[in-house]
Each structure stands twice: as structure tokens, then as C-alpha cells.
Symmetry: D2
Subunit: 341 residues, 4 copies
């Protein structure tokens, strides 16, 4: 039975709490949050779990094996360091830290103490992304040429990070996982519309180049009243659209089919030619990804599995975000990526 403490009951923390609580080989021992009201509100659902506004109580508790940090990203490094120093395994929300140097420090610390770090790159644990991986690995799609991603919604505006640091970690982590590779170049264009004074970009277009000329265009935004999470993978044999907000058809696989005929007799027929192959919509298991993610963390801690989103994976994502923002500050100038960890 692994004993887990959680620091942070804000936007995302309650989802982690709920899932760790439901894992059979895990005991949710302590919940910590600076905001006493928040703590009480969430705590109502877990009457038998200890609550505290002082997270140090978690670090000092010798019974606790692992600590989950679900706090704002600027606190990931200091809190993560304290957790590892206290000799406990670390589950850190994404992005792992605000810069790659801090990620490296955390990794070194964990390795010196023989502890595990897991970064909460949730999408790797979704049924949909798993399905995509298996379709890609099976060769059905041919070579992947490019990916086009939209990840946009209205707010929540962050104060301590721009939209790239807030939303793009999902996509970079997913692409690194799917391609089993890191990007070699990035450029990014963006703008600060709402938080102009703070200099925080709320819209960005990021283009990554992966080995073999694979391109990925990622559009992130906090300004779009429509929530869109859509990834289009175009391969040499098939195309796949992953629409994460569709209630029942998250993945659609398109056959290439034949080319469009060159001759039309009228305006209407001209407009009618929309696609040319069969479409297949596989059933995707409707499982909560956090269930798989929290279970995986417990397995990794117990040596039953090899981590899919370790500190090393988290670092790679942060490196891409750093360079994307460097490009952003330079009007879109492309930046080469070198990984030497």
C-alpha cells in the first residue's frame, strides 16, 4: 500500500486526488492547500483523509511514500526539490519547471536519491492517443508527413506563464511520444492581446520540425470562445483526425481514395466534391486518462513499469517550450534544438 500526499487543491488537483483515492494499492493520506476554504470544500469528499494548510507536514511524515505537486508552475521547482530532498517519490504537474536548468537539477537530485519523478503529461495516457500510437506503429497510416493541432479555448488566463507554456506541453509531450523522437527545429509567432501590459502572449502558432521532415503546427490560444482540441495527422497512406471534444467520435481515419475528377458541369457539382475515400471511426474506450496515469505512477514507484513521462521526458518538453518562446520573442525566427542531457 503506497501512501500518497497531495499538495494543491486548485483547478487540477481535485482530479488527481479523486483518482489516487480510487487506486486500490494506494492510500490518500494527506491533502495540503494554502487556501483553507478550498481545502474544506474538497475535503468533504474525503472525510477520512488528513487536511493541512502546511505542506511541510507531508514532507515530514515518514509514512508517506510519494508526493503529488499540483500547484502553479513557478512553484514546481522549489516544491519538487523539497519533496525529493525529503526522500519521497515525486509526481509533478506539467510543465515540469519554468526552465530546463531546474529540470536538470530535479533529475540529478532524484537520481542521487534513487527516487522516481513522473510529470503529469496526461495525454500520453488517453485511450485515444494510445489508439493513434498503435495505428501508427502498425504501419496502417504510412509515413506521417505532418500534424496540424488546434488547442484553443476561452481563458483561463494565467498570470505566470504565456499560452505556450500553458497549453503546448500537452502537444509536445504527445508528439514526442508518438514519434519517439524530439524535434530538431522550432519557430513560433504569437501576440499579447488581453494581458498586453504583462507581456504574456495569449495566442501563438508554433511550428516544430521532427526528424525526417515531419512537420507539426500547433495553434494555442486563450481567446477562442469555442473549446477545440483537434489534431490532424496526415500520413502517406491514411489520415487521422483526433477530436478530443467530440462526445462519441474522437478518432476518424480517412482513406486516401482517388483523385478528384478534373471536369464539372456546374457550380453545384464543383462544390460537391468533398472527399474521396472511406472513413473509419473506431470505438475508443471511454476511460478517464488520469486513472491510467495515476496507476502507472504507482507501478513505476514499485518497479513494475518503466516510466513513460519521467523527468527526462519532462525536460525535453521544457526545452522545446524554451526555444519556442525564444523564437516568439524574435518574431518567429527559427531556432535549432539540440538535446545533450
Amino acid at each position: 500500500m503506497i501512501k500518497v500526499g497531495v499538495i494543491g487543491c486548485g483547478y487540477w488537483g481535485p482530479n488527481l486526488i479523486r483518482n489516487f483515492n480510487a487506486q486500490p494499492d494506494c492510500e490518500l493520506s494527506v491533502i495540503a492547500d494554502l487556501d483553507e476554504k478550498r481545502l474544506q470544500q474538497v475535503g468533504l469528499l474525503y472525510p477520512n483523509t488528513k487536511k493541512t494548510t502546511n505542506y511541510k507536514e507531508i514532507l515530514e511524515d515518514p509514512d508517506i511514500d510519494a508526493v503529488v505537486v499540483a500547484t502553479p508552475m513557478t512553484t514546481h521547482f522549489p516544491l519538487g526539490s523539497e519533496v525529493l530532498e525529503a526522500g519521497k517519490h515525486l509526481f509533478l504537474e506539467k510543465p515540469m519547471a519554468t526552465n530546463s536548468e531546474d529540470c536538470r537539477t530535479l533529475i540529478a537530485l532524484a537520481e542521487s536519491k534513487d527516487l522516481q519523478i513522473m510529470v503529469g503529461h496526461t495525454f500520453i495516457y488517453t485511450s485515444a492517443v494510445r489508439k493513434i500510437k498503435s495505428l501508427m506503429d502498425g504501419g496502417e497510416m504510412g509515413d506521417i508527413h505532418y500534424v496540424n493541432i488546434e488547442r484553443v479555448n476561452l481563458g483561463l488566463f494565467q498570470k505566470d506563464a504565456n499560452v505556450v507554456w500553458d497549453l503546448a506541453p500537452h502537444d509536445v509531450a504527445m508528439l514526442n511520444y508518438l514519434f519517439e523522437a524530439d524535434p530538431v527545429r522550432v519557430n513560433a509567432t504569437g501576440h499579447c492581446y488581453v494581458q498586453k501590459d504583462l507581456g504574456i502572449e495569449d495566442v501563438a502558432f508554433v511550428t516544430l520540425e521532427y526528424p525526417g521532415g515531419k512537420l507539426a503546427n500547433i495553434h494555442v490560444s486563450w481567446l477562442d470562445p469555442n473549446k477545440i482540441r483537434k489534431c490532424t495527422f496526415v500520413g502517406s497512406r491514411k489520415m487521422l483526425v483526433y477530436d478530443d471534444v467530440h462526445p462519441s467520435e474522437k478518432i476518424r481515419v480517412f482513406d486516401k481514395g482517388v483523385d478528384v475528377a478534373p471536369h464539372y458541369e456546374g457550380f453545384g457539382e464543383f462544390q460537391l466534391q468533398y472527399r474521396s475515400g472511406d472513413i473509419f471511426v473506431p470505438q475508443i474506450e471511454m476511460a478517464e486518462p488520469l486513472k491510467a496515469e495515476t496507476s502507472h505512477f504507482l507501478d513505476v514507484i514499485q518497479g513494475k513499469a518503466i516510466g513513460l513521462s519521467t523527468g527526462h521526458h519532462g525536460l525535453r518538453v521544457v526545452q522545446v517550450l524554451e526555444k519556442a518562446c525564444e523564437s516568439l520573442k524574435n518574431g518567429g525566427r527559427p531556432v535549432d534544438l539540440v538535446f545533450d542531457d
Copy 2:
């Protein structure tokens, strides 16, 4: 009664022929095409119109007032020059030419002979774009922050132009028209997948910056089995999605609404928060844009209207495409745009 000759009965020419033929103050006098079979096939529908495989017959016919050139883009400049030299008004398909120098030559020639040039930037003449313009001009949307455009489909692969020259002219012309401005900077990333040997890009992501920090991201591709023509305009007050392939809801206007609540009790509710305001789907007149376009050309020739897609407009579009491709060849390096015509 304006007498019109048409050079080119390929992919797009028959649409122009059909529309000029239907204009009440216009007579479709001659159709020319190098391919005799093609000429016969199209000509069956216009038994009383003269057909020829020698386009010079059109230029030499003193009764013809205006000539429509719907041929591959590399021939736009030589044919356009001949038409103007022959003293006839010129309707040129888009893009106007393969480089800005040729555009300038055509403009100078037309001005010296007091002739009109119109470039076939069809989207400016659609009911949908007209509706968007009126919504933007009416202030309902607030300041436009950014635009995200997808213009993708499977084939037809061009041999004499990459996908930027083939598909992006629509978007650049539309954006210039809607914003009543030219972009100040462009960067573009792309790749050659299918026609690698020819070095012809079949996928590209182009980012334009317009004055006032307006961004436009344009994704063009010949590799997507799904035909998508979708433009999302995000303004400070409202958002608008223009989906040109939707059979009945081409334009959707989204209210901003309020922010998403910060607390959820479970995974399901968390996922349920998709949008937060009302949506309005205005009826759009189902008119063929070429009807408005061809009618406008006849009006301009007769001095009844001022051109909306003249040679000058066509030149500006070509200048943007030139610089986009310069960026493309330099791995996405941003290029500033200066217009001095």
C-alpha cells in the same frame, strides 16, 4: 453589349465561360483552348459560340472588348501582355503572375493604354465574405485579434507552382480585403513530400502579421483527404467561424460569454464545459460568387464600378506570396514586407 473571348477551358475556365455567358449585357464570342477535345466537350453547351485552338484569333478580332485568361499561372504574364497589347481589357485568373515584376509590367501596360485589369480573386465576391466584412465594419466583433485558416484537400498537385502559390492567394486576397491593409511581415514553414524531386512544397504553414498586431495563420495542403476551407476570426468581442464547405451553416458567430468555472466535481463535468456564450448562424444567400465577379468585371469595364481586385490588388497578393516562399526556403525565417508601388 460587351463581347468577351475566353482563353482556357481547363479546370476553372468552364465556370467562367458559364457565368459570362449568363450575364445579360455580355456576349460570349469566342472560346480558345489548345486541346481540341476539351474545346469540343465544353463547346457542346455553347453551340452558337465560335471555338478555336488558336487564341490569336481572339486578339485579332476587332469586335472583342475583353479577354478572360484562365490558363496555368506561368502563362498569365505572356498571355496577359498580348491581350493588353491588343487593346483589350483583361480578366486574369489568380495568381496574377509568378512574380511581382511581371505584375508591375502588366499594370504599367494597362495604364498606358487605359485598359482595365481584373484578377480573379473569387472569395472577395462570395456572400459569406461580404457578410463577414459587414459584421467587421459594423463593429460587432470588436478588434480582430487573429485569424486561423485551413485550406486543405487532396490534390490536384500542380507542376508549375507549390501549394502556397496554388491555394494561399485566396486567403491573402480575402484578408487584405477584410482588413483593408497589407501584411507587414510573413514567415512560412513547409515541406515537399510527394513531389520531392521537383522541390515543390505540398504542405505549408504561413503566418502573416498585419498592422496593429493582427495575426493570420494559414495552413495550406494538397495532402489532406478531407476538403477543409475554414477561417476562424477571433475578435475582442466576438468570434466568427467561416466554414465554406458546410452545406447550410457557412458562418457562425460566437458570443464570448463568461469564463469557465474553476471547480468541477468529476471528470465528466470537467469535460462538459465546451463553450460559454450564445451562437448565431446568419442565413447567407446561396449565390454563385462567379456571378457577382463576372458582373463586377463588366461594370468596371463600363466605368460603372471601381475595381475590387484590380492589377494593384493582384500585385500585393503576389508580393506576399513571393516573400512567404522566401521564408519557406529559409526554414521559416521571418521576412518584412514593404510595398512601394
Copy 3:
């Protein structure tokens, strides 16, 4: 070369004219319409075809082999009789006549003169219905249990027929074709909303029972601002949805999949369970059904094919409509159907 005359250039006639004109082994000889303006308007597109406001000229022309009647349904019988009396093959728009007695008279007349009757049940000739037939015949769907059909739109309100006579012929003809059987019972409920004074129903719900307990529910309406043409076929193995107004996905085939789990942890997950099997969207050829239909008529006349929508088929449809309306007038009382022709 078959010579064809067409009577009626109203709503549907021009579509038939265009298609007969385009058939290679057919000559469109004469077009007749009582309305001279209408005749001129349509005639512009067929400058070499004779026009007349006196349809008798068609009947008296010895060169004409076949006559197409695309006039209001109340005139189908008198005009059809004259055509057959004149010794010409007859293409009649649907429904064949306003009552089964007239249908029988037409059939007898045609047989006595060795002439063909074809009724314009267009849906039988669509790529989509052909695809459904092949899926049903191949056994992939299992036994068909029931069909649910919506065929609704706004207007055009008819003066000489209710909505059942106007819209349901499509569905009855399609179902008879797909099931290769006639219904054994019908009941219908409906109401007159807009044309109350004339007693003409504008909305109806018709339920047909086919042999083997197959049910078909047909909802027809002139009052729905949304144009819907949707047929859901539920079989013991698979389900198929045929959405005729979808621009690119007319047919969707649903696997049954497994049952929904009985236990949910929250409201959200409860709502998330929408379907349970794979979906397949086969590509459907985008062909105009009238092209197949007019070609088939020419083949039947020339003895090259056996008619799929002969007078006998048309009669069966009219018999069902008659009994549906009998039920309608009796508040939905079911009526047994007996066919003894």
C-alpha cells in the same frame, strides 16, 4: 437514337430535360409548357430544341418515340393516357396518378399497345440506395428490424395533394425496392396546419408494416425550416444511417458493439456513454441519380434492361398512399393492404 419530348418545365422538368439532353443515345426533340415565359427561360439553354405551348404537337409528331410528363400530379393520368394512345413510351413523374384505378388503366393501355411506362421514383437510382441494397443483400446488416425516416423541409406547399402524396412516394418506392416486398398494413396520423381551409395535411406520421414484422416509420412535413432526408435502418447485426443532405458522409454503418456498463461514478461519465461500436463511412459515388434514371428508361425502351420502376411499381406505391390517407382520415386507424393486380 431515341427521340424524346418533354411536357412540363416547372420545378422538376428542367432536371429531366438537362439529363435526357446529355444522354448520348437520345435526342431532345421538343419541350412543351403552357407558360411561354417559362418555356423561353428554360429553352435558352437548348437553342436547337423545338419549343411549344401546345403539348399536342408532341403527341402528333411521328418521329417522337417517348414522352416525359413532368406536370402536376392531377394531370398525370389524362396526359399519360394521351401519350400512350398516341403510341409513345411514357415516362411519368411520381406519384404515377392520384388513385390506383387510374394507374391500372394506364398499365392496361400500355400493355395493349406494347409500350413501356416508367415512373420517376428517383431514389431507386441513387448511389446511396444502391449501396444500401448491396449491404442488405450481402447480409452484413443481419435482418432488418425497422426503418425510421424523416423527410421534411419548408414548403413548397402543394395545392392539389397533401404532404403524404407529395413526399412519401420516395420512401415507399425505396422501401419496396430495398425489401423486395410490399407492406401489409399502414396507419397514418397527420394534421392540416397552414392549409386548414383546403383540408390539406402538411404534416404526417406514417407507419408501414412489411412482411416479417419489419416496421417503417415515415415522418413527412412541409413545415420544418430544416431540410432533412434521413433514413435509419436498424438490423440485427448492424445499423445504417442514410443522410441524404450530408455533403460528404451520406451513409454511416454502425457496429452493434457491446452493451453499456451498468455503473457510473458521476453525472459526467453517465452522459459520456453515447455509443459502443465502430463506425464505417463508405465512399459513395457522387453521381446525379437522374443520369442513371434517364439512362435506364432509354435502356428499357430499347429492350436492354428490365424496368425497376414500371407502371406496376408505381401502382403499388399509389395503393400504399391511398390506404395511408384512408387511415389519416380515420384518426390513425390501421388499414390492411392487399395487392391483387
Copy 4:
């Protein structure tokens, strides 16, 4: 503080338990279920609530004010009677009972003891139905002409009730609520496909006639792999589509717009005419209806509100279901409805 006991932790019970537990002026005192495993599983979430496999403990507990019965429909009457006999308010899941006689007995019993009965007609408490009611009451839609309802999904097959008793209560309760009237006539057609031996219909088409000629067609099925909950309300001024499974656009309001033009130039334009007016998609609050429903029950008990789904409402629904099934057994023969309670 109202003390509540719940009998039944099956499919729906846990949703009621969760919501009563979350009501501030309510204490969830006891949960009963015959199945000990089920009881434990659900009970884990409510560690401080008493659990029992003997529901009589709830009836005998003098502290308990109200009892929720969420058991199979055949037990509604015997359990409901016991609850009322024990002097406790009664919340009964729908349908209220298996016949109207039992409903009347329950009503008389409650009235004699001055107790409240509430039937769980959840849809009355949804944000969407409330929105429809306000749009109808505000006159915006004009006179409602007819309603077309699809309520279909795959399983869960019931053993003690047919699909009409299982699914149609939602619709009848909703329509009675919206129209503030009871239907005057019903006919129904259906069939037993899967549970042929038991004689339990799994598909039915029910047509109700409300005063003033309003028609409602309700299609219920357990055989449709697609989950559909869709109601189309056609009024003299506007139409409204209520799609309960759409994640973000549950209600769409269609303007009538003008009529379709009678002349088309080609097949394509002919097909393009899909609708003719504006569409409005109002934002609907994303609230769980059971929250409003359980809160309403507590208010009714405390005399703070007048019941919207009392025993009398429940009885009316059951009367309609009875007569619908009478029609079903008679091949669709229409049955008049008289209410004399």
C-alpha cells in the same frame, strides 16, 4: 435538516444518492439494497451513511422524513405503499407504477396522511426543457404545431417492461409540462425483436394528439447503436431542435425565413438549398438536472414550493402509457384518452 433514506442502488439510484447527499438542508441517513456487494461498492463513497440490506429498517426509523425509491418499476407500488403507510414522504422513480389504479391508490394514501409524493420525471428539471418552456411561453415560437421525438439507444433491455414504459415516460412528462395539457388521443405501433418470447416490445412509434391539434410523434427503441435524444418542436413562427446528447449546442432555434426559389440551373444548386432562415443557439447552463430535482423535492416537503411532478402528474403519464400499450396490442388502433381523477 431533512433526513432521507434511499431504497435501491442499481442503475439510477447512485445518481439520486449523490445528489441528495450534496443538498445542504438534507442528511443522507440510510442506503438500502438487496445486493450486499452493490451496497458496499456505492457505500464506499459515503462512509458515514448507514447501509442495510433490509429496507424495513428505513421504514421503522422514526428520524427519517422521506424515502427515495429507485427500484424496478414493478416494485414501485408495493414499496411506495409501505413508505406512505410508515408516514414518510415519497420520492418514486418513474414511471410511478405499472398501472393507473395503483397510482390512484398511492395518491389517496398520501392525501389521507398529508404526505407528499414526487415522481422522478427528471427532464422537467433540465436547463434545456426550462429554456424551451420559456421560449414557448414568451410566444417567440408561435403556436406549436407538432413535435417529433427520437429517444433511442442500445439496451439496457428491461425484463419487466417494454420500451414504451421504459423510455416514453420522459417524453410524456415533458410534453404534458410544456403544453400544460394532457393528450386526447394516442396510437402506437411497435414490435418485439430481441425478446420475442417474452412479448416485450423493443421498438415503438407512438403518436399523441394534444388539444388544438398539436401532434407528437415519439420513437423509442432499445435497438439503435447510436444514442439519440432529439426533440424537434415546429411552431408557426419558429422551430426548435433540442438535442440532449450534443455536448455544447443542446438547443437550436430556427427562423422560418422565406420560401425556396422554384428555379435551379443545375443538380448542384438544386441540392444546395437546405434552409432559409437564421439559426440561434442559446447558451444553456450546464447543471445536473438531478440537483434541481432533489432540491425541489426538499422544498415541496417543507412547503416552500408546489410540486411539478406530483403523484397526479405521475398518474397522467401512466394513463397515457397504458393507452399507448392498448393501441400497441391492437396494431395501432387509436385510443381516446379521458382523465377523470
